[in-house]
């Protein structure tokens, strides 16, 4: 059974034509994970019994024609989505033994359509990282080069999909954590409009920035998953009523493209960007031009202030969100606490890793009396400038193209001792989160045998069109179908 290299759309056809059952497909991918994942460490939990149970239900749905395009398709969830009865660790010692009593809305919706959850993917601890090196469960490796990082924080999801250990996975994007690993691993990753996908049951890092979404090989597969996870949810007070209830359709045709203008922000193509990446993106722009799209240089000023503002806001929100880990209600608890304060202090010392502690402390400092205006308030004002710059740009152009990252995947250990270098690798992704906009990263070529990603950024709730634009490109090119050589076999 040679199906590892099939997209979700193709696997769905095989299931519908009864060429393969969901149970057979599930066993196939479980065996693939067992064979290949020891090289990658992309999974934290594999739950074979749970997966087979769901696969049998999916096979019944298919037999009774009660299925949809995702029924019976195996998926893996980033290990910050709560899964009832299945470990949810957030890649932290703090939650090493935590089994949630409920499902996240994303998980619940995908269970309801009959997807098969095989397990939970590795990530940076509490989603704080850009390389998947801060996981309590060890670093994840990039299937394109095992000496390189897969990106982060959804590094396990990206590594697993790139090696075709799973056809599709969920991720979350607070400052680029879907798009950056998708870019480093040659995949397609969608960060939806803030509020369009429920955050209920998604373990919080920075609540005003966090957004769940799909990581897959193609825009077509991302659209399938996005259709099933989006929508208003009363359990998430930041869920947006304006989220389009209609199914996203990849309806854009070549004849429509002449009416679409795409902005190229000059600040994003400065000397900070690797020259090879810049050249590859401009080559892909030529493909888009042949498809009929119009291009225009634009300016997104104050871009350099994004990283400080992002890390202050995210850390401030993290310091508040992670105060819930106190050794009382759930998660790790220190041994024999002398008193309540000792319980808090030692539980948090033992349970959190270094990067998480640092961000909690930066956040506590930025929110503390005497420093609130100097740091937190200033960051929020910069956020408005960044958001307004996008709004102004969208008066002039319909979409914006930008690099996803300033470089291709870097070496394991290369930036882990230099936090600022690591933070600066998020420079092209964080503005989108501060503004709450949707963006997709698609593979557009290779530099030194490593994948290069490009973002398509849209105005609020334009997922249908950015997915469509990505799909038109993927119909013309084959970058998204490339598979790392070491994993391109049974």
């Amino acid at each position: 059974m040679d199906i590892y290299n099939k997209s979700v759309v193709e696997l769905s056809k095989l299931l519908n034509k009864k060429k393969v059952s969901s149970l057979e497909m599930t066993d196939y991918f479980i065996n693939r994970i067992k064979s290949f994942d020891p090289k990658l460490n992309s999974f934290i939990t594999i739950d074979e019994d749970h997966a087979r149970k769901q696969a049998k239900i999916a096979d019944e749905l298919i037999a009774n024609n009660n299925n949809n395009l995702l029924t019976g398709i195996p998926i893996a969830h980033k290990d910050l989505f709560s899964t009832k009865g299945m470990l949810t660790t957030c890649a932290s010692k703090m939650l090493e033994n935590y089994t949630p009593p409920f499902d996240a809305t994303i998980v619940n919706k995908l269970n309801e359509v009959g997807m098969v959850n095989i397990g939970k993917t590795n990530m940076d601890e509490f989603a704080m990282g850009s390389s998947n090196e801060s996981s309590y469960f060890g670093v994840v490796k990039n299937p394109w080069d095992l000496k390189k990082v897969p990106g982060g924080s959804s590094g396990g999801s990206a590594s697993a999909v790139a090696a075709r250990l799973i056809p599709i996975a969920t991720g979350s994007d607070t400052g680029g954590s879907i798009r950056q690993p998708a870019s480093f691993c040659g995949l397609t990753g969608l960060k939806p409009t803030y509020g369009s996908v429920s955050r209920y049951g998604m373990i919080a890092y920075a609540s005003s920035l966090d957004q769940g979404g799909p990581i897959a090989t193609s825009a077509e597969d991302c659209a399938l998953l996005f259709n099933k996870i989006k929508g208003y949810d009363k359990n998430d007070p930041t869920s947006n009523f304006n989220t389009d209830q209609d199914e996203v359709k990849l309806a854009l045709k070549k004849q429509d493209t002449k009416n679409i203008t795409i902005g190229i922000p000059k600040e994003y193509f400065s000397k900070d960007l690797d020259r090879n990446i810049s050249d590859i993106i401009y080559q892909s722009i030529e493909v888009f031009k042949k498809l009929g799209f119009n291009f225009k240089e634009i300016s997104l000023p104050d871009h350099d202030y994004t990283i400080p503002a992002y890390y202050i806001i995210a850390s401030a929100e993290a310091s508040s969100n992670l105060s819930r880990y106190d050794g009382v209600k759930f998660g790790h608890r220190c041994d024999k606490p002398k008193n309540l304060e000792d319980l808090y202090l030692r539980t948090r010392k033992e349970g959190f890793g270094k990067e998480v502690k640092k961000r909690i402390m930066i956040g506590a400092y930025a929110l503390s009396s005497g420093y609130y205006d100097e740091y937190y308030m200033k960051a929020l004002k910069i956020r408005r400038i960044i958001r307004d710059n996008f709004i102004n740009a969208f008066k002039d152009v319909d979409y914006i193209f930008a690099p996803t990252c300033p470089s291709t995947a870097f070496d394991l250990g290369e930036k882990s001792s230099d936090a600022l270098e690591m933070y600066l690798s998020d420079i092209y992704t964080t503005p989108v989160n501060l503004a709450g906009l949707p963006a997709i990263s698609i593979p557009v070529g290779f530099s030194n045998n490593m994948p290069v990603g490009m973002q398509i950024i849209g105005n609020y709730f334009t997922e249908a069109n950015i997915l469509s634009i990505a799909h038109l490109f993927q119909e013309e090119t084959g970058w998204h179908n490339r598979i790392p050589e070491d994993f391109d076999h049974e």
Partner: protein
Amino acid sequence: MFDKSKVKDVAKLAMIELDDEDLIYFSDEIVEFLKLVNQTDNLELSKIEPLYHAPEISLHAREDEVDKNPKNDGINSSPKHNGKHFIVPKVIE
């Protein structure tokens, strides 16, 4: 100036116990981070309003009703409980 004594204060606010090695590590790391943040010092922001939430929509609230079928049976997730209560070290002697 952000030094080891400041790290101690912040660690107390954050309720994280630090040892001497941690104090050195985190004061170095946070000083470096603040250098990055201080690059924003020359920005004129007095007329800019803060933006807490990008969509600027008002958050909606649920009806103030108890869920009769709570999905979150939280007590069993506690590392120390008696089935009805969370157990913590004695607060009042």
